[in-house]
């Protein structure tokens, strides 16, 4: 009964999505206020039914309803409750339902926080989001129904053991919030094209939404990277796997969009470029969904799939891209680029950064799509190696990082190159010194280290220069602290996010430069020396988990002759699927991480053991977390709220005028 309610709720939600698309957009075009007024209540209604549907699927998982095919394939009665809940989005059908739920959360949020916007814009934005919802509802109902019934099974086939992990329980919701969040920017862009008006006020409305989506996407990607690092046990944190790329491309364009929106907001320029980026960011999110869900990829995330699904989502992707590009081609000339600026100005630096980010995204797209296209055309399989991705990414990003230090210091419209150069000399010298001295402290020289260190310290020192310059230029006799408190939150957010990039670069640089990896055969009592640490293998014991049994190794680590920690990596066999799973043991410090994983038993009491020493590796994800925090801080700036209030007052005043 409950699965049928869920299925039925989905059908109702689809109908509501159709209403949500047609009435408000038509109403906005024809100027019918009563049609436009349906946008908010219908969107809320759709949310209620999608949430109900999601609750029904969750109920099937928690209640061990093994007459639902999807629950049979992704759950088991022995599964701990947390993973029963996360199992709901552990497969294709459920993750689509999560996608739609997220889309509805965003739509309702827009409906809620847009009271200050004019009715036509709100109607168009909600209408466009309704259109996106139609596509995904149809996709689910026609090709991937999560509520499909089969004769009752005695038990489920279990969730893939790789996914039974707390990190993976929250990674997909975060990532999807980011992906789907760009639909808001997309809807705002389409609404602006339809309305033919792109101005500073429009940019100011779009900004917090775009930043919010970017924050979620940053967190989602970082969580995924962290999970791959400790769960897959290959010792790397980024593999340029097609699915990683699929999430990274919208991130690159989203980053460009945030900065472009800032220019449109502050200066009223970059207008059609901003719109194009907003269209691209969401199209790439859809492309990512297509790549992951269609089964064209060979990857951790690829599901065994029928081709029907791939063609459906490809068709939807084509519709979205073609419609939005045609609309863009038709309306963009009317929108225009906006005001002029000099060759050396904050605008031009931001534009160059934007172009570089877009070019990087293009290269990632090439490396991701080319193998697929090549296979379709010639039938031959090929893949593109990680070294290529690493290389072009470093080459294209280094100038962006350099500009990151300069841009915020330069004046809008027209900057003064010699003044900026003078101001930045101390920052430049500081970064060079740090880059040349630190490698000797760390004890070892590889070319990647000084380059990476220079870029990281350049961000820190130029950000500090920026702060000092800004405080000095403030008039008044306030104390330093008071002056700092007067800085707006979006400014602190910018500095914080930029420094997050610096911390990320430090982490990457030290891991690339100084990590150590060893695979060894160890018998009881054998030791391995790595850096200042001695690892001693003390054999394995059998342990029993809730839904698995495991061989648990004990590896005693000592540092400078003193006992440091005992690491207990496991080799698990899950009861249902009977496949071995490596569970690494990790000891994290502020500056480094020790990582131990069991390979295979080699006869007697010996095992193959994998031992890693990873300096500063946690800084990689901490850097991402700091970037996300910076985004949150910027989003919470009062200028967005003040703008809203001001707009409300104007609207109120206009209404009063009209009523007189």
């Amino acid at each position: 009964m409950v699965p049928e309610i869920g299925h039925f709720a989905l059908i109702i939600a689809l109908c509501l999505a159709v209403v949500q698309t047609v009435l408000p957009i038509a109403g906005a075009g024809l100027g019918k206020a009563s049609w436009m007024a349906t946008a908010r209540p219908v969107a809320q209604g759709q949310f209620v039914f999608v949430a109900l549907s999601f609750a029904c699927l969750t109920y099937a998982f928690l209640n061990n309803d093994y007459s639902v095919l999807y629950a049979v394939s992704h759950s088991n009665s022995q599964l701990p409750t947390l993973y029963k809940v996360s199992g709901v989005w552990g497969g294709h059908e459920g993750s689509l339902l999560l996608w739609v739920l997220m889309l509805n959360v965003w739509t309702v949020a827009v409906a809620w926080f847009s009271r200050h916007l004019d009715q036509a814009t709100v109607a168009r934005v909600i209408g466009v989001m309704g259109f996106v919802a139609i596509g995904f509802h149809l996709f689910m109902l026609l090709t991937s129904n999560p509520f499909e019934r089969i004769p009752m099974q005695p038990d489920g086939r279990d969730l893939n053991p790789l996914l039974q992990d707390p990190g993976l329980a929250i990674h997909p919701p975060m990532l999807y919030m980011g992906y789907v969040g760009f639909s808001v920017a997309f809807a705002f862009a389409i609404a602006a094209l339809l309305g033919g008006k792109v101005d500073a006020a429009w940019a100011r409305w779009s900004r917090p939404w775009t930043t919010a989506a970017w924050v979620f996407l940053t967190a989602g990607i970082a969580l995924g990277s962290w999970w791959a690092y400790y769960e897959l046990g290959w010792g790397g944190w980024w593999f340029w796997d097609p699915v990683e790329n699929a999430s990274f491309m919208p991130w690159l364009i989203g980053t460009a969009l945030m900065h472009s929106l800032a220019v449109t907001d502050k200066r009223g320029t970059f207008r059609n470029w901003t719109i194009l980026l907003a269209l691209m960011a969401f199209s790439l999110s859809l492309l990512g969904t297509f790549l992951v869900r269609s089964g064209v990829l060979v990857s951790v995330h690829a599901f065994a799939n029928d081709p029907e699904r791939g063609s459906f989502i490809l068709a939807f992707l084509a519709i979205v891209i073609i419609v939005s590009l045609v609309l863009y081609a038709w309306r963009a000339p009317k929108v225009g680029f906006g005001g002029d600026f000099e060759l050396f100005s904050r605008e031009s630096l931001l534009l160059m950064g934007n172009v570089m980010l877009t070019a990087t995204c293009g290269a990632v797209l090439l490396g991701t799509i080319y193998p697929i296209a090549h296979q379709w055309l010639t039938g031959a399989n090929l893949s593109v190696g990680k070294p290529w991705f690493d290389m072009f990414f470093a080459i294209l990003m280094a100038p962006v990082i350099l500009m990151m230090g300069v841009g915020p210091l330069v004046r809008w419209k027209q900057g003064n190159p010699s003044e900026i150069a003078r101001r930045l000399v101390p920052a430049f010298v500081a970064a060079i010194v740090a880059a040349l001295v630190l490698p000797f402290v760390m004890g070892g020289w590889r070319w990647v280290v000084p380059v990476g260190l220079f870029l990281a310290f350049w961000i820190f020192s130029s950000s500090l220069t920026n702060l000092v310059t800004r405080l000095q230029s403030m008039s008044g006799n306030d104390s330093l602290g008071a002056k700092m408190l007067k800085q707006p939150r979006h400014y602190w957010g910018m500095l914080l996010a930029h420094c997050g990039v610096g911390i990320f670069i430090l982490g990457v640089t030290f891991v690339e430069g100084y990590d150590q990896e060893k695979d060894v055969r160890m018998d009881i009592g054998d030791t391995l020396v790595m850096n200042d640490y001695v690892f001693r293998f003390d054999g394995t014991i059998r342990v029993q988990g809730p839904n698995y049994r495991a061989d648990q190794g004990a590896i005693t680590v000592s540092k400078d002759g003193q006992p440091f920690v005992v690491l207990r990596p496991e080799k698990r066999i899950y009861n249902v699927q009977q496949n071995p799973m490596t569970e690494a043991a990790i000891e994290s410090g502020f500056f480094s991480q020790l990582y131990v994983a069991l390979g295979e038993p080699l006869g007697g009491s010996a095992w193959s053991v994998r031992v890693y020493y990873k300096p500063f590796v946690t800084w990689i994800w901490s850097g991402c977390a700091i970037m996300a925090l910076g985004g949150m801080l910027a989003m919470s700036d009062r200028r967005y709220r003040v703008a809203r209030r001001a707009a409300q007052e104007t609207a109120h005043g206009a209404a009063l005028e009209a009523s007189r």
Binding site: N160, L162, G295, V298, V300, A302, F303, A304, D340, E342, L343, S348, M352, V355, A359, A363, L366, G367, Y370, A380, N381, L382, S383, V384, G385, P387, W388, M391, F392, I395, L396, D519, V520, R521, Q577, N579, P580, M581, T582, A597, G599, E600, L602, A606, S608, R610
Partner: protein, 155 residues
Amino acid sequence: MKPRQKRLVFVAAGVVGIGIAATLVLFAFQQNMMFFFSPSQVAAKEAPVAKAFRLGGMVKEGSMQRVADGLTVAFTVTDNAEEVTVMYTGILPDLFKEGQGVVAQGKLDGAGVFIADEVLAKHDETYMPPEVAKALEQGKAAAAMQNVNQTTVIP
């Protein structure tokens, strides 16, 4: 300079910069492409000798052997028509099993042994990488053809 000229310089510099970057990226792209070959293609000498490529197929039952150091393994990858011996030093992925699909990345040595520096196994019980599935299918067809030929030749 007039604003118009300035803009021209700006655009030209941008185009040249992007052009150089694109050329470098595409050149390196060519160098980094890694092709996929099945054991039959390796036997037919279609695979490069000094350059890295990916080899895919099934791990032959009973073919896995450990070399004395305990960490190096040798196994046979087959597509049911031809076989290639693979050597790999390190820890194999969790789902590596005899009789299951595998993709190995590495180079052929002079003796025709494939020295792998990476071994990838699938992550999901039911999932088979499409190229491995295709290679196995073609191998099966080739083997069937051979059998037909043999039966017709013998009498």
